[in-house]
Symmetry: C2
Subunit: 518 residues, 2 copies
């Protein structure tokens, strides 16, 4: 981040660096270009998109050819990166519509929604007609790639940039790891990022191999090469986009079982993998956040599996859902898949959980607020914050009885700084306030245009975008889309994906006068 | 509270003191007894209830004839008082059913719900057939009296007991009042309470005079003596019970205008009236909480009035509601009445706000979380906590940009202790978590028995009981009742009224091992 300089906000430096990011991004467009050439569809789209993106990247870089970033510029750069990259990411969608294929994504608001949903790894979609018959392989792959790239960005954001800016739950990881802190893993941020990217890349490739291996072994008839490449691109970033309209329901039980552990890995603090690779796998199970994460997944899976197995969690119309009641493997698999998918904020579905009964659905809505681990690609409030809050509430009760007691909150054997604790409370409350207010705005907007949406559906839409989960319930269910919302609501939800992904504060800070004052 | 003693929990002392409270309570039963004799209905009910209550009070007092209360026993006594008083308060409802009048309140779960709703000044009802044709004047007056007594208890709780136990937003009032703090108003708690009770009593009598004066002046035809006495008994405690099935809609516009300022007074920190009586009314408008309170009411009223006046906030069926659209006085009056009623957590209604459109309804649901002032009889989260949270969030943003800055949060010119700040965050988050979890349980329970209730209705039922507001939306709307819920849900909602009224912590503390350990 360079030397800390508080003299003034050098917005040119931030824009210049975003230009560099956009320039690198343009290189990735060559992949769908190649796929477009191979399948004979949308190659001109990506050739043109490549040219335009390069031009934009170079132009932005010129704003400041030699950027020197202070801490204050860091906030602006982070916020601008996701915003401008999402805007640039719309180019293929818009061009594909312009050059021939009729698509809901040819409309700018929709294109921005889908692009932001990609780069923030949310997975909420306004592609109303997900199908390789309607869209080219190149466009579909680009959609998957936006999430994979977004995930790489989040890894850097979560483990390198946010802690540097002293925001996010990430600074807690330092207190957590009993050995060398995240900052000390490697001396320089670039190297830290490289190590974690290797883990990210390694998991992605391993999942591709396993999925395609299942196909070759006859256990996954429709998991062809395109699907086996596409899905891992959205598993590791906890993204959730799929070229299949019915998500992972389209594939065999074997495929669903293989994807579950990869989603779990994607929601785990990536820094822990560094210890595992160093031959200290026990570090994983000594980590408080990982244990809580595993515990939450285990308990919620058991409850949902019980509901599904006994039929208590199934709606009045059992013929509408696959046979689960009384089928142990089915119940456990669907429960584990959905819970892992929601808690990690991936957003895949192995079945349409809209068909579930109210108790099971409310549990899923509740799970949308849990979130993945700090230092993972998962979104929402994040496990470590909940762990700290529960510990702090216990302390509060204890000191109510023993007002004279001094009782610090500990995590992994270390005392949590009271200032960090306050930051966690502030974030969590801010998150819930945003949730309430945004739900009200979505309801009012839907009411304005006469769009039929229930309170529960609106809440789930807001929770799923702010928490970067993706699908919600009812009209925004896993087999449906956000297409029906008015454009104003779509822009609001796009905004929520953006600030949710950046953990709110780096964006809010930009709105304070103190930020811009010299 | 006597000398602080932490040696062990002397539960006998707590029970003994509750016995004294019950003994005093029995005296109040003589009022409906007299009314029963006058109207010739339910006099035997209250004669028997009086005898039983005296016996219970005396028996409980015998548990510890000379109670010496330490701070730890204070928690137990507070929790037990509201629980046991609510249980004793069911006696008239049960006896009335036993001795003849058919009533939903003859069923024990319902009786407990109604009694707890009374003494916690919630105002949620399971009396399915509110009417003086169906119930005696004596029973109806008892229902009103439970709220008036509950309000007296809350005044003591809020300004004398909770600050002594270092819980509740009340300790902030100290920092707030620039002159003598609440503790210093009068040297002894009993005297503090007496001063505030005088204000409580004075407002009650003044409202009775004004309402009956309107009646005598021909401006309120149906505001007869019984109504003119009954309603002030539930205004000052922000209770909301009414002997009229359609609440304040049953009365003229003049009555509605008169009740509004009394609700506002009921939601104001009672300690401020002490200053007003001492000839320093400007103290009221210098108080940060009062200004925020007035501001919130003003802004929300203006928004709702705008929605009602333009017709944006009215449902598709305008014939179902009184003529508001385009009628300025009607729009302003109904907006002000409903907003003041919900923000102060009174729960009266001047019209059925279920007929409003989604935006206006969501605003009301939102307002249920605001709450009255600390040191008032209002419930929910309370204004002062929100003020402190907003200030603290601003500080959080400022210190994100200026990590080196030391920036305490101030209220009314004084620095708020970081520990008090943490307590406020903890309470607010706990409140929201209880809200979410309880909503899930209500939905699951309703689903179990096939009771049709939407997510929005369930949320409003939980927010209205936990926040001691009273009515919610749909099935629990202001002209409906909580009768349809399964008994398990009613018990849960009764529990929510109880812990909500006691500001959660004094009850939760009892569940910690540290509380009972020597
Ligand atoms: K996602
Ligand atoms: K009330």
């Amino acid at each position: 981040m360079g030397a800390v300089s508080w003299s003034h906000v050098d917005w040119r430096a931030s824009v210049g660096l975003v230009g560099t990011v956009v320039k690198y991004l343009s290189g990735v467009l060559l992949v769908p270009l190649a796929v477009g050439l191979y399948y004979g569809a949308d190659a001109p789209t990506f050739a043109a998109a490549f040219a335009i993106t390069v031009a934009i990247g170079v132009a932005l870089e010129r704003v400041d050819p030699d950027p020197d970033l202070g801490a204050r510029e860091g906030f602006l750069m982070v916020a601008l990166t996701w915003l401008l990259v999402a805007i640039v990411g719309t180019i293929p969608y818009l061009l594909a519509g312009f050059l021939g294929t009729e698509s809901t994504l040819a409309q700018p608001t929709n294109a921005l929604f889908e692009s932001m949903s990609g780069f923030t790894t949310t997975g909420a979609t306004v592609m109303g007609d997900i199908s390789l018959d309607r869209h080219s392989h190149a466009i579909m792959l680009w959609r998957q790639l936006t999430q994979w790239l977004g995930g790489m960005g989040i890894v850097v954001l979560a483990v390198a940039i946010l802690p540097e800016l002293s925001v996010g739950g990430a600074q807690l990881m330092d207190a957590e790891a009993p050995g060398p802190g995240i900052q000390k893993l490697t001396p320089r941020i670039a190297e830290t990022a490289r190590v974690l990217w290797l883990a990210y890349l390694g998991f992605t490739l391993l999942e591709m191999l396993l999925l395609y291996g299942l196909h070759l072994g006859g256990l996954a008839p429709n998991m062809d090469l395109f699907n086996a490449v596409s899905h891992p691109l959205t598993t590791m970033p906890t993204g959730g986009f799929s070229p299949e309209a019915r998500s992972i329901e389209a594939f065999s039980a074997a495929v669903q079982w293989v994807i579950i552990p990869f989603m779990i890995a994607a929601g785990t603090n990536f820094a822990l993998f560094w210890h595992v690779l160093n031959g200290e796998p026990e570090r994983l199970f000594r980590d408080t956040e990982f244990r809580s994460y595993a515990g939450v997944i285990g308990v919620l899976t058991a409850v949902i599996a019980g509901l599904l197995f006994t039929g208590i969690g199934i709606s009045a119309n059992p013929s509408a859902v696959p046979p689960i009641v009384g089928a142990l493997e089915d119940s456990v698999r669907h429960a584990a898949f959905q819970i892992v998918s929601i808690v990690t904020t991936t957003g895949y579905a192995s079945m349409d959980f809209n068909t579930w009964g109210a108790p099971a659905k409310y549990l899923l809505l509740f799970a949308m607020f849990v979130g993945g681990s700090a230092g993972s690609t998962g979104g929402a409030i994040k496990i470590v914050r909940w762990v700290v809050i529960v510990k702090s509430l216990r302390r509060e009760l204890f000191t109510t009885v023993h007002p004279e007691a001094v009782s610090p909150v500990r995590l992994g054997g270390r005392v949590i700084d009271e200032r960090a604790l306050r930051g966690i409370y502030a974030f969590t409350l801010l998150y819930l306030v945003f949730f309430f207010v945004a739900t009200m705005l979505v309801v009012a907007d839907a009411w304005r245009v006469g769009y039929q949406v229930t309170a529960f559906e609106s809440m789930s839409a807001v929770a799923a975008t702010l928490g970067n989960v993706g699908p919600g319930f009812g009209v925004v269910g896993p087999m449906n889309s956000y297409l029906g919302f008015p454009a104003t609501s779509k822009l609001l939800l796009t905004f929520l994906m953006w600030i949710g992904r950046l953990e709110i504060l780096p964006v809010l800070v930009l709105l304070t006068p103190a930020y811009w004052r010299t």
